[in-house]
Symmetry: C2
Subunit: 312 residues, 2 copies
């Protein structure tokens, strides 16, 4: 069974990890958001890509979800003493990845090729592909002006009120090598429980990725439980965009794509509403979607796969 997962930050990485533990490496391809990539101190940072890879490599910090486990912060402490900007927390080990990625990009290597090498180095089985090798920058329109995603997310702590989003460059960006091929061979696409606005929409904005999903079974796993995000600003964004945050709002967000939706048990009352969404009238799986530990990731992955298989 060939599965393609679309993923962004921490929540998405958890389900990807579960899928990686259930499927064989050949069965899983992960397409990762790079709209949150940015430049800092002259380095190219790919935070979502790192989160997914660190998680799959069992190198992620289990407390934060982002960054490395067993990390040290000597460089950051020194940056603070130099009164340098330290809003983005660069760990000493994490820095090595940014340095080497930047070096290779400057040599003309592609982000997808670099990512493939890093994954091999880290012993990651499934294929992890950035959505594009071309720059796509998620910009957040807010009451405090237009912010680059990480400025909004980390530097401003998601405080500004959101008015809209733009994925600058997505018009010209091509899907990275392997993206359309993996969709062409996919038996199932899983939209991970990532922020729809800023983790999944950037992926769907690139080239023909959205079109590539139209004839496939596509299952989204809700990132909202009882109207709240476990982490991050998804619910706040829905509210500020004038939409009541709920799993139903998420399902509507993806409505032209969905053949299945995984709803949290706490939201069981939304099952019928979601199941009747046009045009594809998604099947609905009601289960516990809160991944508190590795076992939860594996269970949710298994349930989602079984559910998805039943849809095809």
């Amino acid at each position: 069974m060939n599965v393609v997962a679309l993923a962004g930050g921490v929540g998405g990485a958890k389900l990807v990890d579960g899928l990686g533990r259930v499927l064989s490496p050949q069965e899983l391809t992960v397409i990762v958001n790079t709209g949150d990539d940015f430049q800092l101190f002259g380095l190219h940072l790919s935070p979502d890509l790192d989160t997914v890879c660190y998680t799959l490599a069992e190198r992620a910090n289990p407390e934060t979800g982002w960054g490395r486990k067993d990390e040290s912060w000597h460089c950051l402490a020194e940056l603070e003493k130099l009164q340098a900007p330290t809003w983005f927390k660069l760990g000493d080990r994490d820095l090595a990845v940014h340095l080497e990625r930047t070096r290779r990009l400057e040599q003309g290597q592609s982000l997808s090729a670099i990512t493939r090498d890093f994954c091999a180095n880290w012993g990651i089985g499934p294929e992890v592909i950035p959505m594009s090798d071309d720059p796509v920058a998620t910009r957040v329109f807010t009451d405090q002006g237009v912010l680059a995603f990480q400025e909004y997310f980390v530097r401003e702590g998601c405080q500004p009120e959101v008015k809209g989003f733009e994925f600058a460059g997505s018009g010209e960006a091509l899907p990275a090598p392997g993206v359309m091929e993996s969709l062409g061979e996919a038996d199932l696409v899983i939209i991970c429980p990532s922020n729809p606005w800023v983790s999944i929409d950037p992926i769907l904005s690139v080239g023909t990725i959205r079109e590539g999903l139209r004839d496939l079974p596509v299952v989204a796993v809700t990132p909202l439980i009882a109207g709240q995000a476990l982490k991050g600003p998804a619910a706040k964004m829905y509210r500020e965009m004038g939409i009541t945050p709920s799993a139903r709002a998420v399902a509507e967000h993806y409505r032209d794509l969905l053949t299945g939706f995984v709803l949290d048990s706490r939201d069981q009352d939304l099952e019928d509403q979601i199941g009747s969404l046009t045009p594809r009238k998604p099947g609905v799986l009601v289960t516990d979607t809160w991944m508190k530990n590795i076992e939860d990731r594996v269970r949710l992955a298994r349930e989602t796969l079984t559910f998805g298989e039943g849809l095809t």
Copy 2:
């Protein structure tokens, strides 16, 4: 007494430190070689500038002379695991300086302004000025081709045979703000015991710096003792350039500039030869020039200053 010191790497930094301990901050300006600056991992590195500043800030590693004391190497270890180039040893704390310098350069700030801020932050009293805000790249012509200085020095461990040197960009580079002004007010110029070929010559190659020295008392402190460098490839370079390495060779190297030369006691037999060098027939001070500890730095600085004052 206004003193300008020209300095490159570790030996130069030691005498600069001694001068900084003897003179008041207002009396000392240090002009530092930036011909060894280079790009690594997208970062701008200024190794000589860092060595001088770390030494003056009492942050230098006393064992190596370069890098930081109390340093950790977590990023470097991770770079090694990623099979990234690790020939240049980037410490975690040291990295913060490269990151912040690069960030500010990309913002359009000048290297001299950034250096001034870092020095203030580190509590460095004397003014430390990079020789130029413009790029000047020391290139080493060798039997293995043309190498950037740090490639020759660190990556190749000074093994290639030297055929010559080039300071690319020096024709267009302007002295950094403060360089010519400090020379205009100088009562004494001290050429520190740095490598003449690759630490001092790059400084002298920039704009009118060499001309600015012609009417001033200029004292060079020998970097060679008994034909050997305490550190680095100076003696090897003299041999490969067809010149017997000795304090006399160093004095001849600077002969059009020198009014004084500080010779090591072990080379006392060269005193008369050096004293008769044309055109300026330098006075010669014979003393112990080997700086093994802070006390030696202070003593040599004091002796050099007294000697230089006597020449004016």
